[in-house]
């Protein structure tokens, strides 16, 4: 049930009605980046996406887990409202309650991009961020 991604930056886990991801990272910053990559890899084939547009994102929440949900939901919003596909994430500031990032991508172009899945939202269901001797891992379930 697990699809391995290159270098194991993230995995996709199947659920009956939804889809989950596990994002890995030596540092917590990397986990947030990989979770964002996982999200857009569910939506489209990332190799087809350019990086000419830049979006600045700032989110805040009450703890690290909900900050991750907030971050991913901000990206879902950008995709649905701006029709932008994002593939590179430069996190400029991260605490347990705030995140600031520059996100790079391009507008969805039907001739060049395939939309595989529409993602409605990142949920709090089975939301987890854990640390072990190999680093951090975060689990998020998306409603698709």
């Amino acid at each position: 049930m697990v699809k391995e991604a290159a270098g194991k930056s993230f995995e996709v886990i199947d659920h009956t009605a939804d889809v989950g991801i596990i994002a890995y990272g030596a540092e917590i910053k990397q986990v947030f980046v990989n979770a964002a990559l996982a999200l857009f890899s569910l939506i489209t084939e990332l190799e087809d996406v350019g990086e000419e547009l830049k979006y600045d994102v700032e989110v805040a929440s009450e703890d690290r887990e909900s900050l991750l949900v907030e971050w991913l939901n901000e990206l879902v919003y950008l995709f649905d409202a701006e029709h932008v596909l994002l593939k590179r994430f430069d996190i400029q500031g991260l605490s347990n309650t705030r995140l600031k990032a520059a996100c790079y991508g391009e507008k969805f172009a039907p001739a060049r991009h395939r939309i595989k899945t529409g993602v409605k939202a990142a949920t709090y269901h089975m939301l987890r961020i854990e640390k072990d001797n190999k680093g951090y891992k975060a689990q998020v379930i998306f409603d698709i």
């Binding site: 009605a17 409202a81 395939r114 409605k120 939202a121 269901h125």
Partner: protein, 485 residues
């Protein structure tokens, strides 16, 4: 995942109980509507644990209920019903879901299979062209900020006021296509930004417009009242919801509720069950925002009905009136409603959460249209695109037992990934075409995710609710052509 090992008590062949003692914190028992056979499949995932978790919510009355089409969801399972006392109960966005007022609408026609089959290609192409669908699709209607605010309050009536459909359609829509209590001031700019361009679009995923043929009529007298008279008659079923607007409303409100939970001292086994007292500011705001999204969805289905009629009219060169394209009914299957129910012999006001469940009010109920007073509220149960769909009616037993609720569809069995893998290399559209079902979709590879193999057999689902007595099956119809986003 290991099968669920919890406790289940058999009440009869179609009613099963998770005792309140199963888990400390449950305020009521769980009640599952299913046959023994379906139950074995339900136990394969942790969905019954979720039924037990919903029983933790303050103010829940009688049971945390699960319909036979239940499957794993986030927080609340999909296919669940939970009624809360408005005096001391909570309201939970997770009990409605992200696609607020996702629902189905059924049209009847005077056409027959013999007339439609030769033109099905043309008809499906015309529907596909005329109804905006697919991810990121923009609507044919352009709404301004001001109109968007009106639409959130007026629901389907907004579309009717702008020439899409008739008052008769509103009469045959749950709540008249307008949930009262909507307040656009509770809607974020983000939701408005997502919602404006998507007004009047079908969307993607499991949403569809399906041309169907009546295959079997179980209750001819009841069917006749709905305008369904004979086998071979053509029906049209529309399935869509509140699009990105509803998703954003749910996201925004869940975030607020997340913070409210600890403030109200509510103890939850899952963060996604976040909730607030119905009468609290957060609870009231959620209802006001959810009602906006519910109305947006009704407006959406109203626009799509209009374009459906237009498409038929063009292909068959007759007016929608000549084609007899009257609306049978429109039901919501992701919604929370304030309703009056009898509990322990007393009439009280409750908030009924239906997530992947349908209202099923009996004959004589004050909230159903005059023309259906004798037969009960029509209930529309879509199956997957390769099998069949059902029309049923609500019953008195549903009123007494399940807060006037029944199932909503087939229910997913395989995840989207598992469905794709199991069908690797198979051309789903061609398989269906060989069986006389024409499918046109925005994204062909995604079709596998929605294939029959991914869903429970809706026939078993309807049989379970019929035998359990919470609805009565009336008509079965099979697909002839489908458009998907």
């Amino acid at each position: 995942m290991a099968p669920w090992q919890g406790q289940l008590t058999k009440i009869d062949d179609y009613h099963w109980e998770i005792p309140q003692s199963y888990k400390a914190g449950m305020r009521v028992p769980g009640l599952i509507y299913a046959s023994q056979e379906m139950l074995e499949s339900i136990k394969q995932e942790q969905v019954l644990e979720q039924v037990a978790n919903v029983a933790f919510l303050p103010g829940i009355i009688n049971f945390s209920m699960a319909m036979p089409d239940i499957h794993w969801g986030y927080g609340f399972p999909i296919g669940s019903v939970a009624a809360m006392d408005i005096k001391d109960g909570v309201i939970s966005p997770g009990g409605v879901g992200y696609d607020i007022n996702c629902g189905v609408r059924l049209l009847r026609t005077n056409l027959t299979e013999a007339e439609v089959r030769p033109k099905i290609n043309q008809l499906i192409n015309e529907l596909f062209r005329n109804i905006p669908s697919g991810l990121g699709s923009k609507g044919k209607i352009r709404v301004t900020q001001k109109e968007m605010r009106e639409l959130m309050v007026e629901g389907a009536g907004w579309a009717v006021r702008h020439g899409f459909g008739s008052m008769d359609d509103l009469d045959c829509t749950e709540e008249g296509g307008r949930l009262y209590g909507a307040n656009p001031d509770k809607i974020s700019d983000k939701a408005i930004t997502r919602g404006m361009p998507q007004a009047g679009t079908l969307g993607s995923g499991n949403h569809f417009v399906e041309v169907q043929v009546v295959k079997e009529i179980f209750e001819p007298e009841i069917a006749k009242v709905m305008g369904i008279e004979e086998t071979g008659q053509i029906l049209v079923l529309i399935h869509t919801g509140s699009r990105g607007f509803g998703h954003q409303v749910c996201t925004d409100q869940l975030r607020i509720m997340e913070e409210a939970v600890s403030r109200y001292g509510i103890n939850l086994p899952d963060r996604q069950l976040a909730c607030a007292p119905i009468e609290s500011p957060e609870g009231k705001d959620y209802f006001a925002a959810m009602a906006c999204a519910a109305n947006y969805a009704w407006n959406n289905r109203q626009c799509i009905v209009h374009w459906t009629r237009e498409s038929f009219s063009k292909v068959f060169d007759k007016s929608p009136e000549e084609l007899g394209m009257r609306q049978v009914y429109d039901v919501a299957h992701n919604i929370a409603k304030m309703e009056e129910h009898t509990v322990d012999g007393k009439k009280i006001k409750v908030c009924v959460h239906r997530k992947g469940a349908t209202r099923a009010f009996p004959a004589g109920h004050k909230d159903i249209p005059e023309r259906y007073k004798e037969i009960g509220q029509p209930v529309l149960i879509p199956g997957d695109m390769g099998r069949c769909s059902f029309v049923a009616v609500g019953t008195q037993r549903a009123m007494e037992e399940s807060f006037g609720s029944t199932c909503h569809g087939a229910g997913r069995m395989l995840s989207r990934g598992a469905a794709r893998r199991s069908l690797k290399g198979r051309d789903v559209a061609r398989d269906l075409a060989e069986r006389g079902i024409l499918v046109k979709a925005g994204d062909i590879p995604s079709l596998a995710e929605e294939a029959s193999q991914a869903y429970k057999d809706v026939t078993q689902v309807i049989e379970a609710v019929h035998q359990a007595g919470i609805s009565r099956k009336v008509v079965m119809a099979v697909p002839l052509g489908v458009i998907k986003g």
